[in-house]
């Protein structure tokens, strides 16, 4: 994803990032990024988020974008690495609208860049 660099003049807005996810969860466990490929239709987010909520598994951040012309979407979930993660991944794989699940260790950079992008939106909104 390309991000327009609109934030050059006043980066001080970004430097303390209290709400920005980093590579560790608030309780200092390392974070993992789950990459889900899902059918793109209304209700898929409910299925995915509801599953995490009802199995009492916290999600630190969510990003969802359509891919390939909108037939499918990509959902990125940032979650804490713990002993129940494998169980959660198996539960996610059972959802019929979830076509693929992969995971990778979450470095902070990707989400930090996303936070920059959001910070820009915040500024624009604040100016309204």
């Amino acid at each position: 994803m390309s991000m327009p660099d609109t934030a050059t003049p006043d980066r001080q807005h970004l430097s303390p990032r209290p709400a920005c996810p980093t590579a560790v969860a608030p309780d200092a466990r390392p974070l993992v990024a789950l990459r889900l490929t899902v059918n793109n239709h209304p209700g898929v987010m409910s299925h995915v988020c509801g599953l995490f909520a009802r199995r009492a598994f916290n999600v630190e951040a969510i990003l969802c974008t359509p891919v390939n012309g909108g037939q499918v979407s990509r959902i990125w979930l940032l979650v804490a690495e713990d002993e129940r993660l494998e169980q959660m991944v198996r539960q996610v794989r059972k959802l019929h609208d979830v076509l693929d699940v992969r995971r990778r260790p979450a470095g902070g950079e990707g989400f930090a860049r996303l936070a920059e992008c959001m910070a820009a939106w915040e500024r624009e909104t604040a100016g309204q």
Partner: protein
């Protein structure tokens, strides 16, 4: 699809039309009924309402599917479950939008927890009104997500042709489960291209079952061959995959004493020399004692429910566990297993069987002798089994009076646990009980569904007064359909299992567990058109029971049982399975009240003694 003529007349050809009368153009509802016919559906339970009237109109026009008008949508859901549980094939029920849809949720959740393939088709307000808080609008799609295997909100008539077969495929594939299809009224009424209607897609069929990993099978065989005290643990997945015979063959070949979960009862016939019956909270004492001694446990199609395994960390502490399940997420969920195999249980057992050393080759006689000794020392105690006016006697005497093919449904409570302990089930798919959700009110409508699917069978429905009152309105359905359902009511005018827990674990403080007013169930039944027999008033209760069971059609047989008669043995919720209360054979005192300490020392001494035999 655009149509050339705006008129969709249902009242025959218009004046001046061509001589051959034009066929009425089918709509979405007609297509749904056609797709259901092609799935082999011949009975649908349900209740009509504003938002599913087009479906009912199409059902009536087609005339090919018998509709059973339930008195409550939960009843319709359990009727569908009854059909699905005895046949193993998906069954369908209908409900309208709003309250009709919310009323289905308990039956759907019950099907989810017990892995029963049902398809619930709800009407929804027209799409243009969805989200507007329209009359009888609820977001049943959103509400049913956590309790379904999958669900659909059909947004166009074109989707119907895909969604209906997909619903059946999903419900029946892999681990079965419930699917909800929510169809807005405008989709039901939208015209369907005649070509699509005449050549609809193929029926949805279950996907081929996943083959187990051969390396896992070899490891399992090696572990079992080396075992000194192996046991087999069967769950509902064995019944679902049609693997009961295979499981029995495997147990016989390798000489494996076998326990079953509540859901698997009947998978190995009662009375089989290797059967130790149900394990867990209300198991016979010897069953739980022997599990604590086993060194290798083969678990097939089960999910380590807490009512079965008790405190999971203390379950089978000496055992290496092999776990076969079609649902990968069940492996390592409750207990870390030493050998997990994802795959169809039937396929896995069939591959495992020829690899195993036989009972003689593996030298299992010492273990099997120990099993028999433990069974003799700690037999299951069934007071009053010969008297139909006792809690156990009602079950045993009814079983004696019907043939081995009778179907047995239960409600939820003390009568359910007693039926699980005492009814001699001879085969799979004859046992209908709400295992995972424990839904009071399950029994009667599930029994009606079973009788609809197996009209030649006698269906016994063991129930209690608390449970029966939760779907008692379905007595009207039973009478209307003339189903061969015999309701056996053990009436203690109380919520017996609640009362039992209050007595045992809340220092005897009985709160809200007894009814202050007695219900005249015989008169209620007769008011609904169901004949009733009150064994309390009978001079020849055995004969009257047998006569009532023999007469065709529905019947209610009632007997008063004491509210203070508890179900034993009992493992307290959260305790380990060796912590059994009661159920000891004591001459002159059928139900000794053991203190927890006494019970503990006794069971530990016994378990140790058992190990010494093989030390």
């Amino acid at each position: 699809m655009p149509t050339h003529t705006p008129s969709r007349s249902t009242s025959g050809p218009a004046p001046g039309a061509a001589p051959a009368p034009r066929k009425r153009q089918p709509n979405g509802a007609d297509l749904v009924i056609r797709l259901l016919e092609r799935q082999g559906i011949d009975v649908i339970a349900g209740i009509p309402g504003g938002a599913n009237l087009p479906l009912y109109d199409a059902l009536g026009r087609a005339g090919s599917i018998r509709h059973v008008l339930a008195r409550h949508e939960q009843g319709a859901g359990f009727m569908a479950q009854g059909m699905a549980r005895v046949t193993g094939r998906p069954a369908v029920f209908f409900a309208t939008s709003g309250p009709g849809a919310t009323n289905t949720l308990t039956a759907i959740a019950d099907a989810k927890l017990d892995s029963v393939p049902v398809v619930c088709i709800t009407g929804q307000v027209p799409l243009s009104l969805v989200g507007s808080d329209a009359f009888q609008e609820v977001d049943i799609y959103g509400m049913s997500i956590p309790v379904t295997k999958h669900n659909f909100l059909v947004r166009s008539v074109e989707e119907l042709a895909e969604v209906i077969p997909a619903a059946f495929r999903i419900a029946a594939s892999g681990r079965p489960g419930p699917v909800l299809v929510d169809i807005p009224k405008n989709v039901q009424m939208a015209p369907v291209d005649q070509a699509v209607f005449d050549n609809p897609p193929l029926p949805g069929q279950p996907a081929p079952p996943p083959a187990p990993d051969p390396a896992g099978i070899s490891r399992a065989a090696a572990l079992l061959d080396a075992a000194k005290r192996p046991m087999l643990y069967l769950g509902g997945g064995v019944v679902a995959s049609g693997a009961s015979d295979m499981a029995v063959q495997l147990a016989e070949r390798a000489g494996l004493p076998t326990v079953m979960t509540l859901m698997a009862l009947g998978a190995m016939p009662a009375g089989h020399p290797l059967s130790l019956g149900m394990l867990g909270m209300h198991a016979a004492r010897h069953t739980n004692l022997l599990l604590a001694e086993c060194d290798v446990l083969l678990v097939a199609g089960a999910r380590f429910d807490d009512r079965a395994v008790g405190k999971a960390e203390r379950f089978c502490p000496q055992a290496t566990i092999i776990h076969i399940d079609i649902d990968e997420s069940e492996l390592d969920k409750i207990l870390p297993v030493h050998c997990g195999i994802t795959g169809d249980v039937g396929l896995a057992l069939a591959e495992l069987l020829p690899l195993l050393r036989t009972r003689a080759e593996a030298g299992r006689e010492a273990w099997l002798t120990r099993v028999e000794e433990c069974r003799r020392r700690h037999p299951f105690v069934m007071p009053g089994a010969d008297d139909p006016r006792t809690p156990y006697g009602l079950i045993r005497c009814a079983a004696d009076a019907v043939d081995h093919d009778a179907i047995v449904a239960t409600d939820v409570g003390q009568h359910q646990m007693r039926t699980a302990q005492a009814y001699p089930l001879r085969g799979p798919r004859r046992w209908l009980t709400s295992g995972g959700l424990g839904t009071m009110g399950f029994g009667l409508p599930a029994a009606i569904g079973a009788a609809l699917a197996r009209p030649e069978a006698t269906v016994l429905c063991f129930t209690g007064d608390g449970s029966l009152q939760m779907n008692i309105q379905e007595l009207a359905t039973a009478a209307e359909e003339g189903v061969n359902v015999k309701i056996l009511l053990a009436d203690n005018n109380a919520l017996g299992l609640v009362r039992q827990q209050q007595e045992l674990f809340y220092e005897g403080r009985l709160v809200a567990s007894s009814y202050r007013r007695k219900v005249d169930f015989a008169r209620i039944a007769e008011g609904f058109g169901v004949p009733a027999v009150d064994l309390d008033a009978s001079e020849h209760p055995l004969r009257d029971l047998a006569d009532a069971l023999r007469a065709p059609g529905p019947c209610l047989i009632r007997v008063t049982v004491p509210a203070g008669a508890n179900v034993y043995p009992m493992v307290p919720p959260g305790a380990d399975n060796l912590h059994m209360i009661g159920g000891e054979p004591e001459p002159g005192d059928a139900m000794p009240a053991l203190s927890e300490d006494d019970d503990d020392s006794d069971t530990h001494a016994d378990a140790t003694g058992g190990r010494h035999v093989h030390a």
